[in-house]
């Protein structure tokens, strides 16, 4: 089976500022990879490049063995904010990316996906009637409905309160169990990273490079109180601090 996502020697600069300093990363089918790192290390840029929103980079990004040179229907992206179209109902928003949105098949798909994120009752609601968590679930449904092989999430729960965030993480796990996409999740929440991911990739200070990779062993469903996860969190924290103190010495 082809590799859903393979990144090699990826470099990106904005003007004179290098943002990504050579990233190598391979992600297996159905794997969940969390990308963490200090702010400004190019985490979000990495996702934008994989999504094909910005094609000015050097190196290689391959999705299912074909080089990325623009947006690809096999890649989905959930942004930090829901970015729902305010004039469309929830179900119309979810159907936005479907080519054949008017067909009965598409309607069934939309209904199923809304069920997965628990928004069946709000299919006809307008975005302004949703809470922050519901809006982000609708955005998740919009990305899932096209059944992308690779789903990218850019700090998707960072603007939500802790309780809603945990519920959405479980929604995400449920959706992943159902669709089994390859997931790349950028986050600054270490608990989220170790709870959701199979592997946590730590990027260093700008220009971002892969500093460390931690494998998260426990099988799903996971328990948030699992001491293994807490241990991993501590390891990540130490790695991040190490990163910071190195910079401190350099300065």
């Amino acid at each position: 089976m082809s590799q859903p996502l393979a990144i090699a020697k990826l470099r990106k600069r904005y003007g004179d500022t290098p943002v990504l300093g050579g990233i190598d990363l391979e992600v297996d089918a159905g794997e969940i990879v969390a990308v963490v790192g200090p702010s400004g290390c190019g985490k979000s840029t990495l996702l934008r490049l994989i999504a094909g929103l910005d094609t000015r980079f050097s190196g290689e990004i391959r999705v299912a063995d074909s080089l990325v040179c623009g947006p690809d229907p096999r890649v989905g992206l959930v942004f930090q904010e829901p970015r729902l179209f305010p004039w469309l109902s929830v179900s119309e928003n979810v159907a936005f990316g479907l080519r054949d949105a008017a067909t009965p098949r598409a309607r069934d798909l939309v209904r199923d996906t809304l069920g997965v994120v628990g928004l069946t009752a709000f299919a006809q609601a307008l975005p302004k009637q949703l809470s922050g968590g519901m809006a982000q679930r609708a955005a998740l449904a919009r990305a899932l409905v096209t059944e992308p092989q690779v789903l990218l999430l850019d700090e998707p729960f960072s603007s939500l309160d802790a309780f809603t965030r945990m519920r959405l993480q479980d929604h995400l796990v449920a959706a992943w169990t159902r669709y089994r996409p390859t997931l790349v999740l950028v986050t600054h929440d270490l608990d989220e990273a170790v709870y959701l991911a199979d592997r946590v990739v730590l990027l260093g200070e700008r220009p971002g490079r892969v500093q460390d990779v931690l494998r998260v062993a426990p099988e799903r469903p996971r328990d948030r109180r699992d001491p293994t996860l807490l241990g991993l969190r501590v390891a990540l924290l130490e790695a991040l601090h190490l990163e910071r103190s190195q910079v401190g010495v350099a300065v």
Partner: protein
């Protein structure tokens, strides 16, 4: 306040919007009744009403209203359609912006009424110059607002459409145009106001019917009552147009999460509530 008084207050439409108009009419009436103005300077409401009945009986009032309304409708339609087409072109297409924007911005600085004598000369004294002047008046508010609306569309929403690899044309149709609908409707509302202003001016120049004609004609024959009548009718027609467009606005923009829509929705909820009550 007791609960019953509160619910009664909600059930009845508020009297607040009527206080000022009633005060104006009372002041108008009073100023002649107490001899501040002479009746021939400021005819009191009953005199104007009598003139209205008279004009109606002779069929002149209907004729004036019909021809003015027709000019406004035609001019407004032409002006807004051209404005929407050009604004879409300049808003979405960089080359179109380069081609049209500087000229249109320059033309906009010409006081639009300065066109009146020229149009009269070019297009004759029939309907075309009047409709053209109304069209010019309606054009600019719609054009300016829609261009600003298109330019102001949230880049983040456009990016969502780009993730789905939509073509530029599809992005325009499915994201940019719906997102700039609020600006378009604001422009149309201002354009309609301008259309009423310009039709009166157009009718000052060599018209044989219409409310603007009635104003100049009555001025020459010092029929102040008829001038008042024309002004009152214009005020009513302008208000009706504005209310119609506001109604369309509320209906088409019910998705907006704004203070304006909030009050409209609250009103709708209260209506539902009321209907639910025994």
């Amino acid at each position: 306040m007791s609960a019953s008084a509160a619910s009664r207050g909600r059930r009845l439409p508020s009297a607040l919007p009527w206080i000022l108009p009633v005060a104006i009419v009372a002041g108008w009436w009073g100023s002649t009744a107490f001899g501040i103005f002479e009746v021939h300077q400021m005819p009191p409401p009953p005199v104007v009403f009598e003139s209205a009945q008279n004009m109606w009986a002779r069929g002149l009032l209907q004729q004036d209203v019909m021809s003015t309304v027709a000019r406004v409708l035609e001019g407004f339609a032409v002006g807004s359609v051209v404005a929407i087409l050009l604004a879409t072109l300049t808003g979405l297409w960089r080359k179109g912006e380069e081609a049209f924007e500087p000229t249109l911005q320059a033309l906009r600085t010409v006081p639009t009424l300065a066109w009146a004598p020229l149009l009269l000369l070019w297009l004759g004294i029939d309907e075309p110059p009047k409709v053209a002047l109304v069209a010019i008046g309606a054009f600019f508010p719609t054009y300016v607002n829609l261009v600003a609306g298109i330019k102001g569309v949230d880049r983040k929403l456009v990016e969502v459409a780009r993730v789905y690899n939509l073509s530029d044309l599809e992005i325009a149709r499915r994201v940019v145009l719906p997102a700039s609908l609020p600006s378009l409707l604001t422009g149309l509302r201002l354009g309609a106001t301008q259309a009423w202003l310009f039709v009166v001016v157009a009718e000052f120049f060599g018209a044989a019917t219409g409310l603007g004609f009635r104003l100049t004609d009555s001025q020459q024959s010092t029929r102040v009552d008829l001038m008042f009548l024309a002004i009152v009718v214009l005020a009513i027609l302008g208000k009706v147009t504005d209310s119609l467009i506001r109604m369309v606005e509320r209906r088409m923009l019910s998705w907006q999460d704004t203070i304006g829509q909030m009050s409209a929705e609250k009103a709708a909820r209260e209506t539902e509530l009321r209907q639910g009550l025994p």
